[in-house]
Structures are given as C-alpha cells and as structure tokens.
Amino acid sequence: MSADLLELTAAQAAGRVHAGELSPAELFETYRERAASEDLGAFLWVAEEAPETLAGAPLGGVPLAVKDLFCVEGVPTAAASRILEGHRPAYTATSVAKLAQAGAPMLGKTNMDEFAMGSSNENSGFGPVKNPWDRERVPGGSSGGSAAAVAAGLAPWAIGTDTGGSIRQPASLCGIVGLKPTYGAVSRYGMIAFASSLDQAGPLTRDVTDAALLFGHMVGRDPCDSTSLDFPGELGEPSAERLDGIRFGVPANLTGDGVEPGVQQVFESALATIEELGGEVQQIELPNANHGLSAYYLLAPAEASANLARYDGVRFGMRSGNGDLLSMYEDTRGDGFGDEVKRRIMLGTYALSSGYYDALYGKAQRVRTKIAEDFREAFDRVDVIVTPTSPSVAFRLGERTGDPYAMYLSDYFTVPMSLAGIPALSLPGGLSEGLPVGVQLAGPAFSEGRLLDVGHALEHAVGFDGSAARG
C-alpha cells in the first residue's frame, strides 16, 4: 500500500485525493514517516502532524518539502547556518503560503548549503546531504536537501531556490526535474536573501507535469516584493509529445571542454532524441557566456556581502562576543558563518570597495548586459537553448571542498541564464556510470510554458527511470 503510494507522482496523488481514493492525511503521514527516519541528511526539521487541507484544494494536500531558506512562521528557519540556529520567523514566505493555500502543505525543511552558497550541500552548518544514487556522493547544491528528498521518495515534491544553478544542478545530479523561473515570476518575500537580483524560487519534482503544476501555483505579483510581476498569459498543463518545428540552439562555447565524457555522451544522445522528435538543432554563439562565471562570482558575493550584514547578533539568531560592541560583530559572525560564506562575503566586499568597484563589480554588471544581449540575439534564431546542466555527474563527498574554484565550475552552464534572468529547466537525460545526467533547456523570459511542454515531450522519449534512488 505504502510502496504503491510512493510510486505516484504528485499530480497522480492529487488526482487520487480529488477522486476520493486517497486521504490527504494518509498521504502526509506516509511521507512524514519516511522524512523523519531518513539517513541522507536531507531534512533539518519535519512536521509532527498533518495540517488541515481544504477539500478541493487544487494540489490535493500533497505534502511539500521546503528548503530551509524559506521563512515559515514559528518553524526553525536557519538557511542551514549556525548564525540563525533556533531562529523561528514571525511570518511565512509568500510562495510557501500560496502553495499551502493551494493544497501543498509543508512536510518539513530541507537541508541546503549555508545561505545558498554552494554546489554540493557540503557547506551546511548542520551536516552534508548524501546523494540517494550513491551515498558517498554529493547531491549537488545549494538545494541539495530538496533534490535528495524528491529523488529518494522522501517527499513527493519540493521547492528550492536558484541563484546560479542551485535548483538545476542538484536536480541534474539527483536525476529529477528542476525549474528556475524567469526572474520576478515568483515572489522572493520570505526567502532569506543571498543575491537579490538573481535569487528565484522554483519547483523540484519527479517529472515535468508535477513541475508545471507546482509552478503554476507559485507565480504572481506580490505587493511585498517590488521586483515581482504577474506572469503574462496562461500556464497550461504540458502535453507535447513531439517537437516538430521547434528550433533548438546548442551554444558552441558552452559544451566540449571541461565536460565529462559520460555527460557529453548523454547530452548528445538527448540532442539526437530531440531531432527524432522533429526538433531542429543548430549551433549558436553566446560569445560572452564564458565570462558568466567570473561575473557571477563578483555580483552574487557583492550582493550577499550586504544581504548578510544583518546577521549581527542584535535582533535575532546567535550572538557571541566578550561584551564589547566590536567583538559582538566580529565574534558572532566569525563563529556563526561557515568558511564558504566568509569567503564570499570577503570577495563581495572587495568587489564593491572604493577603487575596485569599476574594475570588478562594475565590469561584472556590464558582462551581465552582454550576456543578456547574447541570449536575446540567440532567441531571434532559436526557440530553446540546450546545454548539459552540469559539467559532471555527482562527485564524491570531499572531492572539491579543498578547491573552491573547482566547485564554482559546477555552475558553468547554469550561471548565464541566472545573469540574464531567463527561465531554465533541467530534466534527466540519462545515466553515466550509473549516475544521473541532466539536460538544461532555456528560453526567453516568460517562456516557461513552452519549456515545460518541450520538457514533457523529451521526458517521455527519454523514459528516465528514477526508481532506483527511491529504494
């Protein structure tokens, strides 16, 4: 009975609930038990009981794993950082509230890289997360807990956040679907800020249909978030089985070098599948995309250095110090932040400092403009851009922790879309040496509908089976 439940996608489970064949309470409890007893380190907090779900709620009471970056009233929310250990917010993030209202109640808070800074979930203040495909490997980051939870069947679906790839890359490494929406499509109110002009919340799900269903209930302008806007047009249920007439572009400078051979192979086979489905594949140029990583690792830390200045021991969270004001700041932040966070704050402070601003932050902002232009020009010729999501499959725990720049390279293909603010979807393309490989589809702003449709067709043709990770 339980095993049968676990095989249902979220949409299927919601359907059963609406048909009266399944009670939301039973569904919630099944997952709650699994989440509470898991050994991947995916959850930091699990609900003790199922909340009431309104009858007829569109999402059927299907429980949702929520990345610890989202504030939930009264629930421990720490962005996986010691500096916020014990912090219980006084309010709930808009996106989480909307989903709960729509019938996706919170199952628990998932582990993540501290303050969303990382690509392996090894930077958590509360221990790493393991990849359910191979427990000696990373799930990716920063939404590693959400990705692992969905891949391992600990939650039917999850939300995470993506700043430079933090939904897509873990989705790729865990063999699930992850969507980074158009910047502004989903409210950021209640999302603990990392890099404000890049952060976006999005779904991590077993399949494209679930992603579309969840996403549809996340969008909309929020008066509490000045950078949010209403999603133009309707978001229907993805249904495409063919890709006839759709033009796909493969950026010449975003493949090849630095990509693991196994990943490249899966990627090329995905391209072949696209063509079999009627899609036209051509090479395109994104000339400035190679500088994306540098621009990102200047812009994001710069914004983060300011966003994290509020963690000072005055109003919430942890406080250290020997009793004088300066030591309150220095010791609180020295004790409370992990190494990667400290690195990025220092990097960001440097990029903004007097005398360096123009050469670093200012340059990065201009590179951002060029990358956005590159995409706009490319989308004159193609409808969808395709790349591997990550240059590698899941690497071993500890493999890259000594070499931050090697870790940053994980984001090589995902960062340009974040800089341009355009949507991108990652879906499993296959396995390389038993480990999942993700394929990234990117489109112009607000083209999520088409991306999900394309993803739907590709997903069916690829026929990826993720059940091995659900054990």
Binding site: G86, H87, R88, A90, Y183, G184, S197, P223, S226, T227, S228, L229, H291, L293, S294, A295, Y297, L298, G313, V314, R315, F316, G317, M318, R319, G321, G323, D324, L325, S327, M328, D339, K342, R343, M346, L347, Y350, A359, L360, G362, K363, A364, Q365, R366, V367, R368, T369, K370, A372, D403, P404, Y405, Y408, A420, G421
Partner: protein, 69 residues
Amino acid sequence: MTAELGDILEHIEAIQALDLDGVEPTSHVAPLENVLRPDEPRESWERERMLEGAPDASHEGFRVPSPGR
C-alpha cells in the same frame, strides 16, 4: 582561506581585461519601474513578539554593548 581567495581572484580578475566601454551596466533584470505602496498605515507588530528570539532583550528593547567601550 587566503590561498583559496587568491586562487579564486586570479580566475575572476580576468574579467578586468575585457573592454566593455559603452556597455550599460545591468542593475535590474525585471522590466519594472515605479513600484510604489500607498501611504496607508497598518498595525505594527507587538513588541513582545518582535523581542522574542532576540539574543539580549530588556522588556523594552534590544540591548547591545555600548559603542565607545
């Protein structure tokens, strides 16, 4: 820490060599302007609630070591 930062900077500073004169910087990607809120008050939050979770609170406010010590 210093070694790692140095290594990161070496890679990232390559960006300085790019000639991007005449390119406008992007500070916001969403095409929005004039997002404003009507000047209508709503209830503030209860003081006790806002002091909950403060590392060092008196009954009236947030205590900090005095500046100048």
